[in-house]
Amino acid sequence: RIHQHCKNEFLTMGKATKTEAPKHPRFYPAEDVKVETKFKVRQNPPKIRASITPGTVLILLAGRFRGKRVICLKALESGLLMVSGPYQINGVPLRRVNPAFVIATSTKVDVSKVKLSKYDDTYFGRDKTTKKEGEEEFFMGDAPKPAVVSDQRKADQKEVDTALMKVVSSTEMLEGYLAALFTLTNHDKPHLMKF
């Protein structure tokens, strides 16, 4: 058994340079201080596939409105897509939709005339004020609560849809197309379909 200092001497025997032992400061903070890394992780804005542009007709694949064909209005900062039926055609309101659960068709509609600047993720975000659980709610259990649509939403829906309907009704067959559900039937092969 070799003692550590003998081992060190033995190891440093052949070395030309003499390395200094690191000097430990007399005082150091009681809590560990996190060392700042040089390279900070930068989150890139979410990328949306090229087939989805504002005005593309999308097929919703999952969720409450599965099978419906809707118009993509814009891409939000979180990467979700803002979508509208229009509501009067197929019952899909102004809504966010995840692009992974959507098929983009080649049908495109001009939505440049629709005012969409005020819609962003915070507009669609859940109400944080209604989270308080009183005793009554606790006893009611986990039953899903009916959604209450605010008047502001209804007004915004109407505003967007009147602008959309102008474009939709001017295009041939588009209204019927948006009203129809997408479904797979016998002998349909989605890997061979051109959407």
């Binding site: 087939s51 694949l61 992974a100 659960f101 098929i103 479904t183 797979l184 002998h187 890997h191």
Partner: protein, 110 residues
Amino acid sequence: MPEKRSPRLHVDGAILGFKRALRTQNNKISLIKIKGCDSKDGVDFYLGKKVAFITKGTVADKYGNKFRVNWGKVCRAHGANGAVRCKFSRPLPPQAIGGKVRIMLYPSRV
């Protein structure tokens, strides 16, 4: 025209068995035959798609559903004739071999 109630947004698949050699098998990976897909070129569309193995239980969940789902996903092609390897969250039960599975159309890359 009568309104259709719920659209079919999945493709049916048949469970062929587990990934195996002649005498040993790896039951974590199942082999699935996608209906309508008969060549390796067709499989590219289905890669990454979610697969659902659906069974019926007796106890209803809070929404009244008695159906239970074992979710999996299409991992890669298996062979040249359109079969596919899938990995489920729980390995499929062996009595399911020959049974049905639903290959959903999401996550969509179209």
